[in-house]
């Protein structure tokens, strides 16, 4: 199980990178470029607040997983 958790750590890091890509290029930037004020606010919130929290958080979770921080004996 410990090895599986470490392997999955790589999956979570890749997922974090994909989430960042999706949030920035598929959600935030298209919203910002619509020209509508409410889309602009929402796009900026996604870009500056939500993306860092979600992507960095998931990336860090994956990193800790890869390092073995969630191994049975450390929990």
């Amino acid at each position: 199980m410990n090895n599986l958790k470490k392997l999955l750590g790589i999956v979570w890091i890749i997922l974090a990178i994909y989430t960042a890509y999706f949030s920035i290029f598929e959600l935030a930037l298209p919203k910002i470029s619509t020209g509508h004020q409410e889309d602009l606010v929402f796009g900026i919130i996604i870009l500056c607040i939500l993306t860092p929290i979600i992507s960095l958080g998931l990336g860090l979770f994956g990193y800790y997983s890869l390092l073995g921080e969630y191994d049975r004996e450390k929990m």
């Binding site: 199980m1 599986l4 958790k5 999955l8 979570w12 997922l15 598929e26 959600l27 004020q37 409410e38 606010v41 929402f42 919130i45 607040i49 939500l50 929290i53 979600i54 958080g57 998931l58 860090l60 979770f61 800790y64 997983s65 921080e69 969630y70 929990m75």
Partner: protein, 483 residues
């Protein structure tokens, strides 16, 4: 009681958003519209995590009781003041600005309240009953929404439409002061949490809870686990059952607004006792598999549930009994023709064909449809929403006890509040935007079941959360060295 009032205060703004927008945020004024957008997004999910950090830190330093007394006053005061602000027509730009500031204060207070209440109750709970005791707090969000709807309906029933629009909408806000005062009196008599008092007496409280919670790898890994292994899945299941279902009924099924509200209200009322049932059960069998079970059921059944909901109002599958068309009339510079159709299962559909005579839409035609379900279909729809409420109670009932038990007393308030509010505020709060994006894309690419595309977001988030939770979380209640 206090947490219930906080949720009531928070939801009353959303429930009265249409009236509020006409009083404070006129759409023809760009600055007011900008402030309106900020008020919606910022208080809904951006400010809540900051409230969790600010009040969590206070609660771990000075105590739970005084901190959540402050959050209660802040929320109650802000809600009451929203009811007192003169409209945009009276004081211009200041009106939306003050509403925005008060709304931000509401978001901050809500961010601080939940962690305090959950921690306080859990630390008072007898051994082996934390799940049961804290599950009562879990009922408050649903009850808060329910009570806000009831107070609005009662106020409307005592007043004429003109009176409600003129000043009656302020009543639910002003009522908050009375409720907060009652709650204040109750909380004033309560004692500080015994576990916190003991830690304080022994000099074991934290001097810098933020640093210890998030600057220490051992604790930070539990914060991340709480977020990605429990709170984010719980957030999307909660939002899907309580808000996405409502939006689906109104905008996809085109159900009459009052009927959709009533159906959701009945399902919430029937389902709410299950928060306590699953909280109690989590004391017996552990928290992990009840919460993850709710997520797995949601992942597996959301699509068939929503497909069934859609088919209940899909008139292409029904036999039309009769159709009546009223003569065209002119309303607001448009010619309106109303057609009513009745179907063999009791469904009634009203289509309004609007031919625009002026403005940007001049010469164009729009059709608005509303559907009214009856008999067996109505009961089936209540049952389908009720199933989703049960999933909510499974993931949400035990989560307060789960989060409390994941962290030590000295940083508990801070550490548990953040993942809860990020999970709910951000992962849950993003649901409408991401689901709309997915649905729009599916519709543009002519996907046959485009109306189910929006479910992709909660299903993926809940599935990832299920995998993380099932592999990384232990079913035992408390990690070592945490008491």
């Amino acid at each position: 009681m206090g947490t219930l009032i906080e949720w009531y205060d928070f939801f009353i703004f959303g429930s009265l958003s249409i009236v509020i927008s006409t009083k404070f945020f006129p759409s023809d004024n760009p600055t007011a519209a900008f402030l309106s957008t900020l008020a919606t997004f910022a208080a809904g999910f951006v400010v809540r995590p900051f409230g969790a950090l600010f009040f969590g830190r206070l609660g771990d330093i000075i105590g739970r009781k005084y901190t959540f007394m402050v959050t209660l006053m802040l929320m109650g005061g802000a809600t009451f003041l929203i009811g007192c602000i003169p409209s945009y027509a009276s004081i211009g730009f200041w009106a939306p600005l003050i509403v925005l500031i008060l709304r931000l204060l509401q978001g901050l207070a809500l961010g601080g309240e939940y962690g305090g209440a959950a921690t306080y109750v859990a630390e008072h709970a007898p051994v082996g009953q934390r799940g049961y005791w804290t599950s009562w707090i879990q009922t408050t969000a649903t009850f808060g929404l329910f009570i806000s709807l009831v107070v609005i309906l009662l106020t409307k029933s005592f007043l004429s439409e003109t009176q409600f629009d003129s000043w009656g909408w302020r009543v639910p806000f002003l009522l908050s002061l009375v409720m907060v005062y009652v709650s204040y009196l109750i909380r004033k008599k309560m004692k500080e949490s015994p576990e916190f008092s003991k830690a304080k007496a022994e000099g074991k409280t934290s001097t810098n809870p933020l640093k210890e919670s998030f600057g220490n790898r051992y604790n930070l890994k539990f914060v991340l686990l709480a977020l990605f292994g429990a709170a984010m899945g719980q957030g999307v299941v909660w939002y899907t059952g309580q808000f996405y279902s409502m939006s689906f009924m109104k905008t996809v099924m085109h159900l009459q607004s009052d009927q959709a509200d009533t159906i959701l209200g009945i399902a919430l009322l029937l389902g709410t006792p299950f928060f306590v049932v699953f909280g109690w059960l989590s004391d017996k069998v552990g928290r992990k598999w009840i919460m993850l079970g709710g997520m797995l059921l949601a992942v597996l059944t959301y699509r068939p549930i929503y497909e069934s909901m859609y088919q209940l109002s899909n008139v292409q599958q029904k036999t039309k009994l009769n159709e009546t068309t009223t003569p065209s009339t002119e309303q607001n510079s448009a010619i309106v023709t109303i057609t009513k159709s009745q179907y063999d299962d009791g469904t009634e559909m009203t289509s309004s064909k609007i031919q625009h005579q002026t403005g940007e839409l001049k010469g164009k035609e729009t059709i608005k449809t509303t559907t009214h379900l009856a008999g067996k279909n109505y009961i089936l729809l209540v049952a389908l929403i009720f199933i989703q409420v049960i999933y909510i109670t499974m993931v949400y009932g035990p989560i307060a006890a789960f989060l409390v038990e994941l962290f030590p007393v000295k940083i508990r308030y801070t550490s548990m509040s953040l993942p809860y509010h990020v999970g709910n505020g951000i992962f849950g709060g993003l649901l409408p935007a991401v689901s709309t994006y997915l649905t729009t894309n599916a519709e543009a690419s002519n996907t046959p079941q485009f109306y189910l595309a929006g479910l992709g977001y909660p299903i993926i988030i809940a599935a990832v959360c299920f995998i993380i939770g099932s592999l990384y979380i232990n079913n035992k209640s408390t990690p070592p060295n945490h008491e």
